[in-house]
């Protein structure tokens, strides 16, 4: 489904701020896989997701989604294949527009935008049904401006928007990190339900070791711009946080597991 081949990305190349963010990254994901991604601050996790989404061009390598080479495709064109939820709750929705207007925008992802009315009656019913899945009561507030929602509600809405048009790939970048624990659990729960419902191929970055083990069927760890640990299936299910920390210290070559770096 997704293939990253030898991806490299250096920011501010040739300046004092030069930073190698991705360094010969290779990763292949099969259809229906749900990969959790962990790694210390600056390991390149967000850069990997942004490279896949096309936020910036990569320096080297090739990105293939479902057999299509998207390496040189503009971000807005790639959006056809990709649903995204960002770490910042402000980033995924249009605050000055209504809930139903945001959903209508998402419903046209990857389709031509014509001069037909943005929202029809039938659309509205469909959105209402979809909002019920989130179990946040948003289905009764469809004409509320999104700017009035809480961070958690906005993240849940962004999640729904990312999956309204079934994406080939769902990218979640610490999408619960800005939320309080209770809300985070709710949004994660909704994530699980939505991913299960349509068997979405998913990549989820998290700093929470427990979540990384609980969710998904494969776990990768990044370090200095590439994948250093890759476990799946039974082996992943049986992982403990302690084992993960050990794996990390081995992979990064440091004696002690710097769990501050990993867990932050």
């Amino acid at each position: 489904m997704l293939e990253l081949k030898n991806i490299s990305k250096t920011f501010n190349a040739g300046t004092v701020n030069q930073k190698v963010a991705l360094n010969g990254l290779n990763l292949t994901m099969a259809e229906g896989e749900f990969v959790t991604v962990i790694g210390g601050n600056g390991a390149g996790k967000s850069t990997m997701l942004n490279a896949i989404a096309g936020v910036f061009p990569v320096d080297t390598g090739k990105i293939t989604i479902d057999g299509v080479d998207v390496t040189n495709l503009a971000e807005y064109k790639r959006a056809k294949y990709i649903g995204r939820v960002f770490q910042d709750p402000m980033m995924g929705t249009a605050a000055t527009m209504q809930i139903e207007e945001n959903l209508a925008l998402a419903a046209r992802r990857g389709k031509p935008r014509t001069l037909r009315p943005g929202i029809t009656k039938a659309d509205r019913e469909f959105y209402r049904e979809q909002l019920k899945i989130l179990d946040l009561g948003l289905e009764d507030r469809m004409t509320t401006k999104v700017g009035l929602l809480s961070g958690g509600q906005r993240q849940a809405l962004t999640l729904l928007m990312a999956t309204l048009q079934q994406p080939k790939l769902l990218l979640l970048d610490e999408h619960t990190a800005a939320l309080d624990p209770k809300t985070a659990a709710k949004v994660l729960d909704a994530t699980q339900r939505i991913v299960d419902r349509s068997h979405l191929t998913t990549m989820m970055i998290t700093h929470n070791m427990r979540d990384a083990i609980t969710y998904g069927n494969r776990l990768i760890m990044m370090y200095e711009g590439h994948v250093v640990v890759d476990v799946r299936g039974e082996e992943k299910k049986n992982l403990t946080v302690e084992q993960l920390l050990n794996l990390f210290s081995k992979a990064s070559g440091s004696d002690e597991a710097d769990d501050k770096l990993l867990l932050s």
């Binding site: 503009a74 807005y76 959006a79 056809k80 929705t93 605050a95 925008l105 046209r108 943005g118």
Partner: protein, 303 residues
């Protein structure tokens, strides 16, 4: 008594001028409020519209067709700014200034090298003219201006409710989100600039007819007047006018109030030369108020 009488006599003119500038201000609203781009092209494209319309009418063209051509000329001006901004990576404000500067030369060329070209109401079949603004006849420009405003507002209301129109609103609200939802933000911004400058040039075409001449400097400071209209409309009516069509109407009302106030302060003895200073001060003040509110008052809590 004399003061009030002459003020009263001046009101139809102020209202009409306000409504004509209101068309222009709707263009500013599209860029400044919907697309979140400060577009300075308008100072040039207003005169472009006036120049195209007047020169075509002087050449014997039908006034409506001339007006349509003025609109299209504005669309082209917007396209220039859009391309400079989205395809050449020039910041929007600077792109607008560049186009505006270039338009000064272009406008002079359109006007045959003259800085002013008259279009007399006696010789030409004008759509709107200052001369009849206080007459209760079919020549009075006010009904026609209201009709034009109603049609434009209706069209824009429809357009920004369509799938494509919504994608432009999303682009202005949050470009990250827009791109993530597959919206081509570059072409959207360019289209918005074209539409807005088309409106501005249309207003320029009507204004030139209304005044009976086009002047190469007629657009100087237009952006500030447009902003004044947008802000006055929002401050006075923002709480009650929620619907998009009503918001556009508020912009026009803002422009009308602006010209009524200008008329008032002129009658009170303000020097015409100081007008732009006053306008700039008022707009600066209204732009600063929202900022001061966030600095002084604590942030409003999320619900």
């Amino acid at each position: 008594m004399n003061f009030f009488l002459s003020l009263f006599n001046a009101m139809p003119g102020a209202v009409t001028q306000g409504m004509l500038w209101g068309i222009m201000a709707i263009g500013v609203y599209i860029t400044y409020r919907i697309l979140d781009v400060a577009d300075l092209t308008v100072d040039g494209s207003l005169a472009t519209g006036g120049a195209v319309c007047v020169m075509l009418m002087r050449a014997g063209w039908n006034p409506w067709i001339s007006l349509l051509c003025a609109f299209l000329a504005g669309v082209l001006a917007g396209l220039c700014t859009g391309l400079l901004h989205t395809r050449c990576g020039i910041p929007a404000i600077l792109a607008g200034i560049l186009t505006q500067l270039a338009l000064y030369s272009v406008n002079l060329r359109i006007m045959g090298g003259k800085a002013n070209q008259p279009i007399g109401v006696d010789k030409y079949d004008l759509l709107v003219s200052q001369r009849y603004v206080r007459e209760l006849t079919l020549n009075n420009p006010i009904p026609l201006v209201i009709l034009v405003l109603a049609v434009l507002t209706g069209l824009l209301y429809w357009f920004f409710g369509t799938e494509y129109g919504s994608s432009l609103r999303a682009t202005g609200a949050n470009q990250n989100m827009a791109r993530a939802q597959g919206i081509n933000t570059k072409s959207g911004i360019t289209f918005g600039l074209m539409l807005a400058n088309g409106m501005v040039a249309l207003a320029g075409g009507l204004l030139a007819q209304y005044q009976g001449a086009v002047d190469v400097n007629m657009g100087r400071g237009a952006i500030v007047i447009g902003l004044a209209a947008v802000i006055i409309g929002e401050v006075l009516l923002g709480k009650v006018f929620r619907n998009f069509a009503l918001k556009l109407t508020a912009v026009v009302i803002g422009a009308v109030i602006y010209y009524m106030v200008i008329q008032l302060v002129l009658q009170l003895g303000l020097n015409t030369n100081d007008l732009k200073l006053l306008t700039a001060l008022v707009v600066a003040l209204f732009l600063a108020i929202p900022y001061w509110k966030t600095v002084v008052l604590p942030r409003k809590k999320e619900v």
